[in-house]
Symmetry: C2
Subunit: 274 residues, 2 copies
């Protein structure tokens, strides 16, 4: 399978999210549904996946510790493990809609299953995802434009550098959601209570302050149309470690494809603070 | 210097805490003040210290990630580093009141300065400390009995096992503060907003539910007298990684002595959520 640039092939406008439990959602995915996971398994935490060889694991873990807003670690497996405490029945090699396989920082493959690429020395990091707080936003009356428009969320590489750790370095990546200006404060307050899934926005308003030249050209995911009165609101994004993998060039790595997350059995409330 | 069992020699009842800024507090300590740091540098975050050789650092970092309530990591240094982003002017080898030096899990020395024991491969972990939230408790009107009584906080080894990571394993250690029953809910609410410094209590009430046989016999620190109507309230404690070092027996390690913390330049509010 050839890699797609923005990973959006199965995320066309018009797709209706199907609410389901996490196990049911993973079964659909394992059976071939390769679309983005935004809007699926309401109320359950979704996670970014990064698998690296054991001798890179310390640098990745330290990179996450030093950059907790974009890289909040929810679980780290032992080497070679194919399951996680976050969803004991799930298989990390098959239960994501699409993966990316990296060699020396180059994307070499974007398969729906990485069983054939798995290695006994792979340590898997599961990192909090902003899809988790979308239910909290919706409950608070904040509209989710990308879901209304049937699209993957828009993600951008910023000019902010993460604090490096050993061989791992790279820029912060953000997700953007258009928020009606009268709801911006609510969006900040609601997500600020969920630091394990990126927490409060890193920026609201002018994209150029993050070094984003054109809001209509996301680096990952789909363009989301802004409605009149909408303000772009930016959250630190779990694609950040993937960008660091690209920049830091470990000999081998597997990640999720942007927007194609791992759906866990953990309720969002578990990550709520205060 | 011979190790002391509970590390309380300079923490006699009657000692009056001297409020001061963090740099001033560290200077007093560097110049020989070996007492506990509870009550010092009001409003500034205090940290537990654990230094291990680089080849143990991954297991320690993963142990912390898997046990975030007792082991909230505030910073991890590069190997051999003697300073931290948490207090750029401070020296990690001299600026704590007392250290413990461990060989194969055995306490071999309790010096006031570890410059002579430092190694180029030591990675230092600074871990959140409940002393940080004591100011928030005091501000909310919750009395702090151990400070009123001029004592180090009481700490206990529990029968709860931490989730192991590689070679690192051990029990959860807790600190205990007597709280008037009418203030227990306030104490839970206030500290729940500070997950980086242990967050909400792990237990309130009967100590036997944590496997603590005798509340008057703490494993570290000093006995704190309960007043009529007080309830014992237990928070996960940053001595937990020290207990894991004892149990897991790395060839070499340095920790702070219980109650003798590293005082950082970071304001407590930085660790406040929501």
């Amino acid at each position: 399978m050839s890699p797609t640039t923005h990973g959006t092939s199965a995320a066309r406008p018009g797709r209706t999210p199907t609410p389901a439990g996490p196990a049911e959602a993973r079964t659909l995915i394992r059976d071939g549904d390769a679309g983005p996971t935004t809007g699926r398994a309401p109320g359950y935490t979704q996670a970014n996946l990064v698998s690296v060889p054991r001798d890179w694991a310390y640098d990745v873990l330290l990179f996450c510790q030093r950059n907790p807003k974009p890289c909040p670690v929810l679980d780290v497996t032992d080497p070679g493990e194919t399951s996680t405490v976050l969803a004991p029945g799930a298989d990390l090699r098959t239960d994501l809609p699409a993966y990316r396989v990296w060699e020396h920082g180059e994307l070499v493959e974007e398969p729906a299953d990485v069983t054939g690429r798995w290695r006994k020395d792979l340590v898997t990091f599961l990192i909090g995802c902003s899809f988790t707080f979308e239910w909290a936003l919706a409950d608070a009356g904040v509209p989710l434009r990308h879901i209304e428009q049937g699209r993957n969320v828009a993600m951008y590489v910023t000019d902010r550098r993460c604090r490096p750790a050993g061989a791992m370095h790279g820029p912060m990546v953000v997700s953007m959601r258009p928020v009606p200006q009268e709801s911006v404060a609510t969006a900040v307050r609601v997500t600020g209570r969920m630091p394990a899934v990126h927490g409060a926005p890193v920026h609201t308003g002018d994209p150029s302050l993050l070094g984003i030249a054109d809001i209509d050209e996301p680096d990952f995911g789909d363009r989301t149309a802004m409605l009149p009165g909408d303000v772009p609101v930016f959250w630190a994004c779990g694609v950040t470690p993937q960008a660091a993998v690209m920049a830091s060039r470990p000999p081998f790595a597997i990640t999720h494809a942007p927007g194609r997350m791992f759906i866990t059995d953990v309720r969002d409330e578990e990550y709520l603070v205060a």
